[in-house]
Symmetry: C2
Subunit: 421 residues, 2 copies
């Protein structure tokens, strides 16, 4: 498809709120708002550019209890909350005193995104992508996925009353097939691995003009959804920035967008622009960014993923270099942890705070622990960690580790004999 | 244990907020606040009694975004939100226009409790039970359960830093074991069915003075948690009552407490006390209350449950007679639906609104449909249905019904040939 056929008339631009264009993150070239994801000059990744008016805390606080309270900061129309969508966000920020005590850190918070409609942070990005798709006149919402994204796209499309087409590898586990197919969109199994599925999706995105692949041709909008994690964290802390955050790294987009979100809040005067350090978390079985950080490299060497943290298993992370830059610039780091540490992390968070995280959350908690043990994280600085998904989706990770303490007969004497009281 | 040893000194009563005592629902006898669940006069079930001060909408709206915004209406201390707990509630009220259109009903809302911390309404009741346990000096939070309640108790206790002991039938499905055991409390498998486990729990509750079985010896407090579903529904509608509500019936406690909640709001002047009709929903395989309603009986004849809606499978529902009374008094009804209709209901809600409900939610949606088809529910009256749990916990219900539309090779020509565009 050529750029010209997809140019959006100026009058339509109002439907992207305060967004005014796209900017190449590599060369800085500017482009119109539209279904573009690669710079026409250098093929670099595009990012949404805004012209923000004055935005006040009161204005935000009066908004809906979802990501749409931050509508003025997102590329979505002013009436977005009134258009049927899953209304994700404004999830709990949990003061994690038990976990803090166990890890020897002073002030710790868990931003728990398992409370989203399909129980992962993907509901945030998909909601913004859905809006962009609608404003750009797309009639199909699509994605390649192996899990959380598939659930989020299928659910959001159902709610919005538009068609979804989700592409999955043929050998995907049955529970993940069910949790996507139940929403009634079109599910397509592809003979191949995730890379094959992903490549096919890009090919289709280039051919089917009416299709919005959330993480391909509307990716610049989609990615902006992650900024809401930063906005909510700051607002829920009482309109201030934390001193340290630990964020899981898959493509790396979320981490860079949280940085963007914190920066915007400071620039707009919504928070004091106090310094913060951003830390990235990976599983050792897919840790190309952590490796590059340790090696002092600016580029990321792709790897073949081999970890239980499937939702983070992107071997060639698109935003890897930006993650390195962000973590170095803010005085943070990128670390990785073994699959056994991931399992420990899941159990540690569940046991201390009653939050059952998916493997990605286990990666983050285990990385937090490692960063503290290795002195990279300051135990006296206020810290926020992100739990981006739900343990119900990755039961296998801990299946062999937990179970009944005893099996008894249904009688009080047998209960007493088991010495459980 | 004798009543006298458990009498609570007057000074402690302040810790139950505006609650002033317990009242027998059968004979009206009054009792002190304490770990009591049966009337000393007639062994009837006890209910919490309040002496409410003036409570304003503004006061509630200024509170936390959880059930604790309704603290003045619950038997919990004024500082409850500051005491570590899972902070359940204030879940989405979703305007279900797609579903409404499909069913031919004018105005329909889904109160979606799958957004709670452990993804069912049980987090609400357990949070109130936990507070009562704490105020009564209990040191162990316990329950017999086969699912949602087990998850909620184990998570709430972990977060609160107190011990939990959960009793389950030995043959419970592995996923349900994992989602409880991961929180690190004591899980006890019992050789027997749920009835055996339940009987054992009552026996232990009578022997272990320090144990609070949430649904046994602190049940009057526990049950009050369900009132928050009514409060939230009314507040989220803009401080008014719906004209019709459809509520799943297991023990029947939730349905009667929603009625109590609506009544209280009217009496306190927080809403206009407009009339409403309450409808109960059961699965045919465990429908003793629906049967009694049809037969015009006041009492409920126990049944042996046989349905996929396991979270509603209580064959001898404690609040059955009160459900009959509530539904008759308000002009509602109690209906039941087959397991196949339950599966249809799950798929219908997912397909139209992007909400994946557990089997209990399928029962409610299917019952809504049946009530409309049989003319028992007014299609022109504003209606709210409760989805009380999450489809991720009952995947088997729809496993045989959904799947990929096609399996293709990873090539654009093969995609085109499959005719999916």
């Amino acid at each position: 498809m050529s750029a010209s056929t997809l140019d959006v008339p100026t009058t339509t631009r109002r439907s992207f709120g305060n967004a005014v264009g796209l900017t190449c993150r590599a060369c800085g070239a500017r482009q119109e708002l539209g279904p573009f994801y690669a710079c026409i000059e250098c093929f670099g990744p595009l990012e949404v550019r805004y012209d923000f008016p004055t935005i006040t805390r009161e204005q935000i606080e009066a908004g809906p209890k979802s990501i749409w309270r931050y509508q003025p900061l997102l590329p979505v129309p002013a009436d977005i909350a009134a258009i049927p969508n899953t209304d994700p966000g404004f999830t709990r920020l949990v003061k994690a005193d038990n976990l803090a005590r166990e890890l020897g850190i002073k002030t710790l918070w868990v931003k728990d995104d398992s409370g989203n409609p399909t129980h992962s942070f993907k509901d945030r990005v998909v909601a913004v992508a859905l809006s962009a798709a609608r404003e750009l006149g797309k009639t199909v919402l699509a994605c390649p996925s192996t899990g959380n994204l598939a659930n989020a796209v299928a659910a959001a499309a159902a709610r919005a009353g538009i068609r979804s087409v989700v592409f999955i590898p043929e050998n995907l586990e049955r529970p993940k097939v069910i949790t996507t197919a139940v929403y009634g969109g079109t599910l397509v199994a592809v003979r191949g691995n995730y890379d094959d599925v992903n490549k096919l999706a890009s090919e289709i995105a280039g051919e089917e003009e009416d299709w919005a692949f959330v993480n391909v041709n509307v990716r610049p909008y989609y990615a902006e959804g992650s900024k809401t994690l930063a906005y909510e964290t700051a607002e829920q802390l009482g309109w201030r920035l934390p001193e340290q955050v630990v964020i899981p790294v898959a493509s790396g987009s979320q981490l860079t967008k949280v940085d963007k979100g914190f920066t915007e809040l400071g620039e707009l005067g919504l928070v004091e622009p106090t310094p913060y350090r951003i830390f990235g978390a990976q599983a050792t079985g897919c840790s190309p960014v952590a490796q590059a950080f340790r090696d002092g490299h600016d580029v990321v060497r792709p790897v073949k993923p081999d970890t239980i943290a499937k939702s983070l298993a992107i071997g060639n992370p698109a935003d890897g270099p930006y993650v390195l830059d962000t973590c170095r610039r803010t005085g943070g780091a990128v670390e990785d942890v073994s699959d056994d540490e991931v399992r420990d992390g899941i159990q540690l968070l569940a046991r201390t705070e009653g939050i059952f995280a998916e493997t990605a959350g286990g990666v983050t908690i285990a990385t937090l622990k490692k960063l503290l043990e290795t002195g990279q994280l300051d135990p006296d600085a206020e810290t926020v960690v992100f739990n981006t998904g739900d343990g119900l989706k990755t039961l296998d990770a801990v299946a062999d580790r937990v179970g009944p303490a005893a099996t008894i007969d249904p009688s009080y004497p047998d209960f007493v004999a088991a010495d459980l009281a």
